[in-house]
């Protein structure tokens, strides 16, 4: 994949940081996360992401994207994490965008246009209630019909699925051993019910029930009958990288805030930052951030360069980021004392966002087991 130069990445990073620092306040997050808010994300910010070209940064130039790679996407996701952004970047830009880029045939390219412009919100619904984190567990069934296909089954809660105009749903074609296929399902399809709910970190999503959902033949992405397991894995890996980057952004922000707090908070006649035990704790948080960033960066580079061991690096990054996020998130609360436990401060919200990042697409323990299974 063509990549930005370091200078270009720096420019992108600066403009991302600038946007989130100046145009996406914590108060904005509070407004958007309120149960009473209509959509749970900022339509205005979403429009701006589109205008800035962020929603197509990793999409090919041939379809109107910037033609950059996952590293550039990660720079944006890190910014989003640092500001607790609520918009459906993960589901729409990363997952659906990735699926459409990798699987859709040329005559289906109009879908990707809507991802890049942001005019449609997309979600990618793959995991199932009895599958857990297992990537190859697909029991949703697609049966051929006169119009195209009929879909039946259940999908686990997915972030942003409640807001999606279009859902990409995985299902096996024909029977339980059929090839894994991807289907574009409009959210108003008959037979599709979405059970919307808030996530731990006050974003929203939905679980799906598909009960005889009828879709046209061209709803199937790519070549009919082709097993898309490898593509699904690639999409999920993009998701992993995206949440790793998001977590890096969130961890860095919350660590900075915690350092500042300890400099200001006085007990026993002096700022808490003077106590060596707490200084070392802050150092451990800081070093954990660096480890997460480095591991994510190595994985991104491997992915963008199509290195043969990229998947291993991506999975290792998820383990590292999971460890770091668990430590940084919980210690940020601990070091803020009672204040860290309030809804009013940002700290607890970073803690919850980091907990989500840890669990999305599989947690550190799960990836460690997968890596262990792959050892010679």
């Amino acid at each position: 994949m063509p990549q930005f130069s370091s200078d270009e990445r720096q420019l992108l990073h600066d403009s991302v940081q600038d946007f989130f620092a100046n145009q996406y306040s914590f108060e904005q997050f509070r407004e958007l996360s309120a149960a009473s808010h209509e959509s749970g994300f900022s339509q205005d910010a979403w429009r701006q992401y589109g205008e800035l070209g962020w929603l197509g940064v990793a999409a090919p130039e041939t379809v109107g994207g910037t033609g950059a790679g996952l590293t550039e996407l990660a720079i944006i996701m890190a910014g989003a994490g640092s500001a607790l952004a609520m918009e459906p970047l993960l589901s729409s830009t990363v997952l659906a965008g990735g699926a459409l880029e990798l699987v859709a045939s040329p005559d289906q390219s109009h879908h990707l246009d809507t991802v890049i412009s942001g005019e449609r919100v997309w979600a990618f619904c793959h995991a199932e209630p009895d599958g857990g984190y297992a990537r190859e567990y697909v029991t949703c069934l697609a049966t051929e019909s006169s119009e195209g296909y009929v879909l039946d089954g259940k999908k686990t809660f997915a972030l942003h699925a409640q807001a999606a105009d279009q859902l990409i749903v995985t299902a096996r074609l024909g029977d339980a051993n059929g090839p894994v296929s991807l289907f574009v399902v409009p959210s108003n399809s008959e037979g599709l019910s979405r059970h919307a709910a808030p996530s731990l970190d006050e974003r929203r999503g939905a679980s799906l029930m598909l009960d005889g959902v009828s879709v046209s033949a061209d709803a199937m992405l790519g070549q009919a009958g082709h097993d898309q397991t490898e593509a699904v894995n690639a999409v999920l890996d993009r998701g992993v990288l995206a949440v790793c980057a998001e977590a890096c952004g969130a961890m860095t922000a919350v660590t900075e805030q915690t350092v500042e707090y300890l400099k200001v908070r006085k007990q026993f006649g002096q700022p808490l930052a003077k106590f060596q035990v707490l200084q070392h704790r802050l150092v451990d948080m800081n070093v954990s951030c660096e480890e997460a960033r480095a591991a994510t960066h190595a994985a991104l580079t491997a992915a963008d360069n199509n290195e043969p061991n990229a998947r291993t690096k991506i999975w290792r990054a998820k383990v590292q980021v999971g460890r770091s996020a668990r430590y940084v998130g919980s210690q940020a609360v601990q070091l803020h004392g009672g204040m860290g436990m309030t809804d009013e401060l940002a700290i607890g919200h970073y803690y919850k966002r980091l907990s989500m990042c840890e669990s999305l697409f599989g947690d550190a323990d799960w990836y460690l087991r997968q890596l262990a299974n792959r050892l010679d």
Partner: protein
């Protein structure tokens, strides 16, 4: 080493059976249902349950008989707590029974004992604790809420924070500064304040759980009769230390911890990965085994400390600190493991399912919202009741002479 074990106590097991039977019979079905789901219990329902416990004298079982208690030793107290936790009954709110009650019967006048103790025994009075302030958390002695003598009253001005149930409370026991010109600890008084007194404002603090039990309490020219002073003016810190000593005694919610592990095992059975129950997953099994090791160690620590308490008449403060550190860490580890199971369900947090009267459907397991609430709440287990950092300082100074 390995010298002292608790004296065997045959009446303890019949007491345990009695408590267990009471829980089975007297815990209202509706309350039990709410507790299972982690739904919020409102004031009246909670108070009714506490009054039931009070009718057996069990809120204040540990008090000496001369003050209306049952004279329980530390082992009866532990058994009662265990069975309460095992039954998943709403816990005893400690502010009256464990905290201000003993202070009143130890340092109060006869009038004060007669006025306040019966209300605590029967839970006719809801108490809250006015200790922490924005500038006085771990450094409690730094408190600034001022009480100035004016005739037969004190005029109180200031602010308390992290006040559990202040929005429900009838009375507050409050540490106030009565002398700002001496060493911090020597200018503090212990004052009982009627929460209905004009000038008191209670402001809710919403937690990361999205729930409410903590508050800020503001005092603006609040008149408190001098008759509400406990003991001597400026000796409040002594009474507070006595109270803290009482509070931190080997109180580990064994019953609740058992329920965490049971709940976890049930969730592992019910949650599938790749079509197989997680209870078969070797990594999860190892984590459960690890939690059980930690839990057994905590129970063993408790048993040794109970034995020491029986010998010495009072519990070891250093041991209590160690137990607090490890049990709070265990709590967090057990709940984190449960959260890791919930990751498979998408980590949905439906706080509206925790409100009584919720009638909708939940995404994922029924108990998910309640356990997520508990996990988020217990993020504070290493902060409240003396943070882990403070407990380690206590051990360093008190046990290691550092």
């Amino acid at each position: 080493m390995f010298i002292r074990t608790s004296e065997p106590n045959s009446s303890l097991e019949s007491f345990r059976a009695d408590v267990r039977a009471f829980m089975a019979k007297e815990l209202p079905e509706e309350t039990r249902r709410k507790q299972t789901l982690g739904q919020h219990i409102e004031r009246d329902e909670y108070a009714a349950w506490l009054r039931r416990l009070g009718s057996r004298g069990w809120l204040t079982g540990k008090w000496p008989k001369e003050h209306g208690g049952l004279g329980w030793g530390p082992d009866e107290f532990a058994v009662f707590g265990e069975e309460l936790g095992r039954a998943n009954a709403p816990p005893v709110v400690p502010f009256g029974p464990t905290m201000v009650g003993p202070v009143i019967y130890s340092f109060g006048t006869e009038e004060q004992k007669a006025k306040y103790l019966p209300g605590i025994i029967k839970h006719e009075t809801w108490w809250c604790q006015g200790y922490s302030e924005p500038g006085a958390g771990s450094d409690l002695a730094n408190l600034q809420t001022r009480a100035v003598r004016d005739g037969d009253d004190y005029i109180v001005n200031g602010q308390k924070i992290w006040t559990s149930f202040a929005h429900w409370a009838d009375m507050m026991f409050c540490l106030v500064r009565t002398d700002p010109d001496v060493k911090k600890q020597e200018g503090i008084s212990f004052l009982l304040i009627d929460m209905n007194t004009p000038g008191i404002t209670v402001r809710p603090i919403i937690g990361i759980t999205k729930g409410h039990h903590l508050n800020e309490v503001f005092f603006e020219d609040v008149r408190v009769p001098v008759a509400n002073l406990i003991g001597e003016e400026n000796k409040g810190w002594t009474y507070a230390k006595f109270l803290l000593g009482n509070e931190r005694v080997g109180v580990v919610d064994v019953g609740k911890f058992e329920r965490y592990i049971e709940g976890l095992r049930q969730l592992l059975n019910d949650t599938k990965e790749n079509g197989e129950p997680l209870s078969k997953d070797p990594d999860m099994r190892q984590r459960v085994a690890g939690l059980e090791v930690s839990f057994e160690t905590i129970k063993a620590l408790m048993a040794d400390q109970l034995a020491a308490a029986q010998r010495d008449g009072s519990p070891p403060l250093i041991g209590a600190a160690a137990l607090k550190v490890r049990s709070s860490e265990f709590q967090q580890a057990a709940l984190q493991t449960i959260m890791d199971v919930f990751g498979r369900h998408g980590m949905v947090y439906q706080t509206d399912a925790l409100h009584p009267g919720f009638n909708g459907d939940v995404v994922g397991p029924d108990e998910m919202a309640g356990f997520i609430y508990e996990h988020l709440y217990r993020r504070a287990a290493t902060i409240y009741g003396g943070s882990t950092e403070v407990q380690k300082n206590i051990i360093a100074r008190g046990a290691l002479g550092l």
